[in-house]
């Protein structure tokens, strides 16, 4: 499998390793919080959260240790699938159909789209679902797809679909700040 964006596989592996360690640390924090909060619950309500928190904390510390070791030895992300490791050339073929974009690049690239989603939610909150959807579809298609024609068609069809769906299924829309109700 090749990396197409100019970053070497080793560089990507190292950056991905660092992200992985950061994510492991976040998971440790989550399970530690679960464990600590569970201690305050009544006995019957605390059994399951205590088990989940305790076991999760133990395993997440384990995965962090393994990832740190892998990161130091610069070996992470180069090993084959666990399940397929005995499947020979079938595994190589599985690798060959993957999309080759470095994980580190994907992580940064994804932030842009997360910003789009949050902006859409914010728009719904401020101007309501119809205006927000029209703005979101129009702007997204112009900026990301670069086509005014697609934007106009998309905007019109999007609003039409939402209107039909809303009336056919009697859907409720989120209340907005500026336009009360819808």
């Amino acid at each position: 499998m090749t990396v197409e964006t100019g970053m070497s596989r080793r560089e990507d592996s190292l950056r991905t390793g660092a992200f992985r360690i950061a994510f492991d640390a976040l998971v440790i924090l989550i399970f530690a919080a679960v464990l600590i909060v569970s201690l305050k619950y009544k006995e019957l309500a605390s059994y399951a959260p205590l088990v989940v928190g305790g076991l999760g904390l133990l395993l997440s510390v384990g995965i962090l240790a393994m990832d740190m070791r892998n990161h130091i030895s610069r070996e992470n992300d180069l090993t084959p699938y666990a399940f397929y490791e005995d499947m020979g050339d079938v595994q190589e073929k599985a690798d060959s159909v993957s999309v080759a974009i470095p994980t580190a690049s994907r992580l940064w690239g994804g932030l842009r789209y997360m910003a789009w989603y949050c902006s859409y939610a914010l728009l719904i909150y401020v101007v309501g679902i119809y205006v927000a959807t029209a703005l979101f579809l129009g702007l997204f298609l112009i900026i990301e797809d670069g086509s005014w024609r697609a934007a106009l068609v998309g905007l019109a069809s999007g609003i039409l679909v939402i209107s039909i769906l809303g009336s056919a299924l009697a859907l409720e829309w989120p209340e907005s700040l500026l336009l009360t109700g819808k």
Binding site: F23, I124, L141
Partner: protein
């Protein structure tokens, strides 16, 4: 049982339910065509629109959709060389070379026919095994159901394609999400952060959309797949059907393999496709032809990946243990519709279970017929650019999410879970165990509470509890031990969207 089967058929053939089934098949075909989508995403978008719907109509829509995703995902696999879903990865190996040689229609013809027969064999084999499974289901009690749920959770974690530790941790994260809200055994709210929205727990719709749909949409946008290499269909669809008929034993064995693997929690379509491909190659007299455009390399995975859905319904409906992300969301959806999995499925609700099997069978026939009839038109849909499609799906997702409780919390939690799950996906943490853990959290806690109330600690000495307990310990120590000894996490790249 035959009376129940006839009753189930008459229930599902009622015209209004048939319309829902046809709608489900249509949606499933569309979802399968779009590379990177898959049944889990489709089901999570559909789920919120089923509140208050007649249960059998809901079943028709959900199972109709699930059953056929693997039929239409053949289009991008064969014509573009991009797996439409995890289950069709193996189809690419020989399907794409065939299309490059101008035999795309032949590959598609063989794939559709094998898919249809595989789906029918899968449904029939489950029906045949119901009397055997029935005796097992009726013989076990609450403690055993508790242990089976634990076993399901352990298996799903352990057989995850990436790190086993990551698989287990994902399961635990799912259980944690499922614990948010009121405790079943006592009047206490847990992990609500003082936020009223969380008092009733996080709805399955929001969890499913966040864990599956948001990461898939984001990756579709990031990858910006090129459509320029899509190949033309060519002619010879009926030749493909003849190929499938000529390889009838391969179709049969692959379907039985698919059904069996489907019944094992944790092993999804991505596994069975490759297993069937491997089976076809190993049993062939000329294995060197595989990978260069051998029609058997298309027939085997396509037959197996349609049969898997029937097998997956066994643990899901009879034991309440979903074996994959799709069945976990399906289970959540069926509970929303008022259908309870478990022993009732083989007693009072046998007609419902059989209606599901009929739905699977009819959906597979419908899908194959539609794909045959409309293959030229349908194949063009796989050329729609992600950047034009995703914004619509996103808008639909936000609307769908809001229908869960009609609270802004739905959208906020959707975004938070979506961002978290997307990072998980990038770092090769499996996501299927999250949704399975979430779905199993409530039954695990409830069954433990009931077992303790009924039997005290003596339930731990019940024979089947001990057997299942030993199995869990062996699995955990075997899996984790192996992982630690190797000292390396096995990290896949981005080849399977559905299972991760």
């Amino acid at each position: 049982m035959w009376e129940a089967a006839v009753e189930a058929l008459s229930l599902i053939m009622e015209p209004s339910r048939l319309i829902w089934l046809i709608s489900g098949v249509g949606i499933g075909l569309l979802i399968g065509i779009i590379p990177g989508m898959g049944g889990a995403v489709g089901m999570s978008i559909l789920l919120p629109f089923l509140f208050g719907v007649d249960p059998l109509k809901g079943i028709a829509l959900l199972i109709g959709m699930t059953a056929v995703v693997h039929t239409s995902d053949t289009f991008p696999s064969v014509l573009m060389g991009i797996p439409g879903s995890g289950g069709s990865q193996a189809t690419v190996m020989d399907g794409y070379p065939l299309a490059q040689e101008g035999e795309g229609a032949r590959a598609l013809g063989a794939a559709f026919f094998a898919s249809m027969v595989g789906g029918l064999i899968g449904a029939a084999s489950v029906v045949v095994t119901i009397p055997i499974i029935r005796s097992i289901v009726l013989a076990i009690g609450t403690p055993e159901f508790f242990m089976l749920a634990l076993l399901g959770l352990a298996m799903v974690g352990i057989v995850s394609r990436s790190s086993m530790l990551a698989g287990l941790l994902s399961s635990l994260l799912g259980v944690f999400i499922g614990l948010v809200g009121a405790a079943p055994a006592t009047a206490q709210y847990r992990f609500t952060l003082g936020w009223f929205y969380l008092y009733d727990g996080i709805p399955i719709v929001v969890v499913a959309l966040g864990v599956f749909a948001i990461p898939e949409m984001t990756d579709l946008l990031i990858e910006r797949r090129s459509v320029a290499r899509a190949l033309s269909l060519g002619g010879g669809r009926l030749d493909g059907v003849r190929d499938a008929i000529a390889n009838k034993w391969l179709v049969l064995w692959s379907a039985l393999l698919g059904t069996t693997v489907g019944a094992i929690p944790g092993l999804g379509g991505h596994v069975v496709g490759w297993l069937a491909y491997g089976l076809a190659k190993q049993t062939s007299r000329d294995p060197e032809r595989f990978g260069k455009g051998d029609i058997r390399g298309v027939i085997a995975p396509e037959s197996a990946n349609n049969a898997i859905e029937a097998g997956a319904l066994i643990p899901t409906m009879l034991f309440g243990i979903p074996g994959s992300a799709i069945t976990a969301i399906l289970l959540g959806g069926l509970v929303l519709l008022g259908i309870q999995p478990g022993p009732r499925m083989v007693t009072t609700d046998l007609a419902t279970l059989l209606a599901m099997m009929w739905t699977l069978a009819i959906a597979n026939v419908l899908a194959a017929a539609l794909c045959f009839a409309l293959s030229r038109q349908v194949s063009k849909l796989s050329l729609v650019r992600a950047s034009r499609l995703v914004p619509f799906l996103l808008a639909l997702m936000f609307i769908a999410s809001y229908q869960a409780t009609e609270d802004w919390g739905d959208i906020i939690v959707l975004l938070v879970l979506g961002a978290f799950a997307w990072v998980m996906k990038q770092l090769s943490w499996p996501r299927a165990p999250v949704i399975i853990g979430y779905v199993l959290a409530a039954p695990i806690e409830r069954n433990l509470f009931v077992s303790m109330n009924l039997f005290g600690l003596s339930w731990l000495t019940r024979p089947w509890v001990i057997v299942i307990g030993v199995l869990i310990v062996l699995l955990l120590f075997g899996g984790l031990g192996g992982s630690v000894i190797r000292g390396k996490r096995e990290m896949p790249r981005d080849t399977d969207r559905e299972a991760r």
